[in-house]
Symmetry: C2
Subunit: 204 residues, 2 copies
């Protein structure tokens, strides 16, 4: 399976994948018609069957590729940090990477966030597996901060993780570039998350 950035659309197959993400994000799983995907990709529906064996397979691949791309991007951003980076620095980096890839790749991101709960049973497992891998990155980030005392000790880490990722995912729903840059969203999200999680400075 091709793991390159899906929208670059080198070939027809990638163009179909990107078209499917666009329609999926707008119309939802059940509302995504093969003819609409084909039209966005500038060909006719039967041509899609040359690259994908069914509508379900195509949709499943959009979801997995989109989710994996987010994980890869966040994971690479964390790997690029110097080893001195604090737990909260690492979390801020993850916030930035998540928002940047999500708002750039917003069709794929919205396709995943809006439809992962609406998929038929056959498609659920691979998407859930990718999503679990992504969540485990965040679980480790929060546990590290909790262990070194930079995150408040009384915080429920799982709930906090779900709330933070929810806030970030939801950005693809409302952000459209008309009112401010991605950088502005990132700055606000980083401030909210940092102060929301951080333990108060201990008295000297």
């Amino acid at each position: 399976m091709d793991t390159s950035k899906p929208e670059q659309g080198n070939g027809t197959r990638d163009r179909i994948l990107a078209a499917a993400a666009t329609v999926l994000a707008r119309e939802g799983y059940a509302g995504t018609r093969l003819t609409d995907i084909a039209q966005h990709a500038e060909l006719r529906a039967p041509a899609v069957y040359y690259y994908f064996s069914s509508r379900e397979e195509l949709i499943g691949e959009v979801m997995v590729v989109g989710q994996r791309w987010v994980r890869t991007h966040v994971s690479e951003a964390l790997a690029a940090l110097p080893s001195e980076a604090t737990s909260l620095d690492r979390i801020e980096t993850a916030v930035e990477a998540h928002l940047r890839v999500e708002l750039e790749l917003s069709d794929f991101a919205r396709a995943v966030t809006r439809n992962s709960g609406q998929l038929p049973p056959d498609l659920r497992a691979p998407v859930a597996a990718e999503s679990a891998l992504y969540h485990s990155i965040w679980r480790e980030l929060l546990e590290a901060g909790h262990a070194d005392g930079s995150i408040r000790a009384d915080l429920d880490l799982r709930t906090a993780r779900m709330l933070v990722i929810g806030a970030l995912n939801w950005a693809a729903e409302w952000w459209n570039g008309e009112r401010g840059t991605v950088g502005e969203v990132i700055g606000t999200a980083q401030a909210l998350v940092r102060h929301g999680l951080a333990a108060p400075p201990r008295p000297a």
Copy 2:
């Protein structure tokens, strides 16, 4: 239009409405079949047409009723606060009321959050109007805190509002009662939001 709590289901009409919310939350706008709604309401599809003139009208009403119920609940919780309540107390109350109604009424809440972006143009306007009314409550809460100095002065209030509401809305996606109570989610969300927004205590 009936504005009573939608799930109580006094009559057949309310039972259909609740059934539609359930199917809508799970299957999405386009995936919501009239026959599935009818089955959940324990009758046959043509009976639905006795109460609603079309599938679209029924779905539109689920969305508006669900969104209005959230607004009403939050707004009543705020009205019940004593006048001495601080801006941050008011925000914590809104967090609690939002989560409580959303996780109790989760079919309606999920129907609104997941599908408001997937509606056909005819249904969009009334839902958007209700949603705008709800957001204006939060806008005022944040502006009050900003004005009295309890919220950090450098925060972008619109972005902060969207991120906070996004985090709360998303809870209906992952919370299922199996791992903790609503109260625990509320406590974590209140702590994250309060510390995320609050201005640092000024030096004496």
